[in-house]
């Protein structure tokens, strides 16, 4: 039997390669208002249902398109508020209360800034800087050019900087 997605081994490889990426993409784009894992599973189930008609090399594009469409139907157009982990200073007792408050302010503004970015800017920036994805990879995931990816990262950065500048 040739190498179609219907082959469980091939499918497993695809799952292991793209499930996390799809999850992160949807999470950074839409925040946590819907169960992201649920949508990712639904997308893979759809891929499995259509396994006969999709070539392995087209699987990623299919998954991202399906995932995005699923979210579009249910996504409530509220501002995206991404959670952040509290930064515990290394030497807790040494930090002054003012410093801790400044940190808090910094992250609150960061959070707001991320929410104010366009979905495209936010996704490109976070996939690159948090997940370490190369520009080329992001370009393939989103079906755009690397030029556009670089531009989005750059404009995201500038906008974030604008908003967090007051709070060093």
């Amino acid at each position: 039997m040739s190498d179609t997605i219907c082959d469980k081994n091939t499918f497993s490889k695809i799952y292991n390669s793209y499930a996390k990426d799809l999850h992160d993409y949807l999470y950074y784009k839409y925040g946590n208002q819907l169960d992201i894992n649920d949508k990712v599973q639904e997308a893979f189930i759809k891929l499995w249902e259509n396994c006969k008609d999709i070539l392995p090399e087209k699987a990623r594009a299919f998954l991202f398109r399906v995932g995005k469409n699923m979210m579009l139907n249910e996504f409530k157009h509220k501002k995206v508020v991404l959670k952040y982990k509290e930064v515990l200073p290394k030497n807790y007792t040494n930090e002054t209360p003012e410093f801790i408050m400044e940190q808090e302010q910094f992250y609150q503004n960061y959070q707001k800034a991320l929410g104010n970015l366009s979905e495209e800017q936010r996704v490109a920036f976070l996939l690159n800087k948090v997940e370490g994805k190369r520009h080329k990879e992001i370009a393939e995931m989103l079906n755009i050019t690397t030029r556009v990816v670089e531009y989005r990262i750059y404009s995201a950065f500038k906008l974030i900087k604008e908003q967090v500048k007051g709070f060093r």
């Binding site: 497993s12 799952y15 292991n16 499930a19 996390k20 999850h23 992160d24 999470y27 950074y28 946590n32 992201i36 894992n37 990712v40 599973q41 639904e42 893979f44 189930i45 759809k46 499995w48 249902e49 396994c51 139907n73 249910e74 991404l82 959670k83 952040y84 982990k85 930064v87 910094f106 992250y107 960061y110 959070q111 991320l114 920036f125 976070l126 800087k129 948090v130 997940e131 520009h135 670089e150 990262i153 750059y154 950065f157 974030i160 900087k161 967090v164 500048k165 060093r168």
Partner: protein, 302 residues
């Protein structure tokens, strides 16, 4: 601006060593670094993660999604389409010719399987199996509730979204509803696998999982109550009892004004709605009103 260009290049990791030196000397250098480092605090995997591959595989095998959609009301058409297409694929060992039998609300039926095993389906339930392959592979999928009289023979599997029940020739009842999973063995031996636990039930033993809490019980009856048009409950949340009432009588119930978490011990008949409502409402000091021929509202007595 020169600084701007440097910044741009730094952002895309495109700096030569000399440029890097210049960049680090910028006023904003510290802030720039802080922003990049700070991004890490928003990392997705800290707050949300995906299932592993094995868990995903059980989703495909146990057809979780479509079972829920039978009772769900959102996106009915799109999901119904997935379900219809999916049915052929989810049964990875069934390719064509699946026999499906379904009961509606207030309907019960008896089915004879190719090996003379009997399945009695309660209201709003469904089984699916492969007729042609039955003799070599006795496995069927169940949503809802059914009583099985299994002819002696090779393994007989009942697959539900909550777990798989395997038997060798016996009589048992399986109830797989939303938030309520129960298996009662009336004769013989039954093996229940659910959520990484496996338990064997002999005659008179039952296992029940309500809202993820497992309860084992000894049962006195020799047949499930619903076969004689009654439902019996012991310490079951009222909302689950009301669900079954709706199913048996094909009615809607408005229970917004009462506490449906209260535990109910008792029963109701399937043949007389007024009597059924009385036996459910009286113990809780409730009363009911018929808004129309098939709509009931429940209230507390003031």
């Amino acid at each position: 601006m020169e600084d701007d260009n440097l910044e741009k290049k730094w952002l895309v990791n495109d700096l030569s060593d000399a440029e890097k030196e210049a960049f680090d000397k910028l006023d904003d250098a510290e802030l720039n670094q802080k922003i990049i480092k700070g991004a890490q605090q928003f990392k997705a995997s800290q707050f949300s993660s995906i299932e592993d591959l094995e868990t995903f595989k059980t989703r495909i095998d146990s057809e979780k999604k479509p079972v829920i959609t039978l009772q769900a009301y959102k996106l009915a058409f799109r999901i119904a389409a997935i379900f219809v297409i999916g049915l052929g694929v989810y049964f990875t060992f069934f390719f064509t010719n699946i026999t499906t039998i379904e009961t509606l609300a207030s309907q019960k039926t008896t089915i004879e399987l190719p090996d003379a095993s009997l399945v009695m389906l309660n209201a709003d339930s469904k089984i699916a199996y492969h007729k042609k392959k039955w003799q070599s592979n006795r496995a069927l999928k169940l949503t809802g509730e059914a009583f099985f009289k299994v002819a002696k023979g090779s393994k007989f599997d009942v697959i539900t979204s909550e777990g798989t029940i395997s038997v060798l020739g016996t009589q048992f009842n399986v109830k797989s509803r939303e938030n309520y999973f129960e298996v009662i063995c009336f004769e013989g031996l039954v093996r229940v696998s659910s959520n990484n636990q496996t338990i064997e039930l002999s005659k008179g033993k039952s296992i029940r999982i309500i809202n993820k809490k497992t309860v084992s019980e000894i049962v006195e009856r020799t047949k499930p109550d619903w076969l004689t048009d009654k439902s019996q409950y012991k310490s079951v949340p009222l909302y689950l009892v009301l669900e079954e009432l709706k199913r048996q009588y094909n009615i809607e119930i408005n229970s917004n004004k009462i506490d449906t978490q209260l535990l109910f011990t008792g029963g109701f008949v399937h043949t007389n709605l007024d009597e059924a409502l009385k036996t459910i409402t009286i113990p809780f000091n409730l009363t009911y009103k018929k808004d129309s021929s098939n709509k009931i509202s429940l209230y507390t007595i003031e």
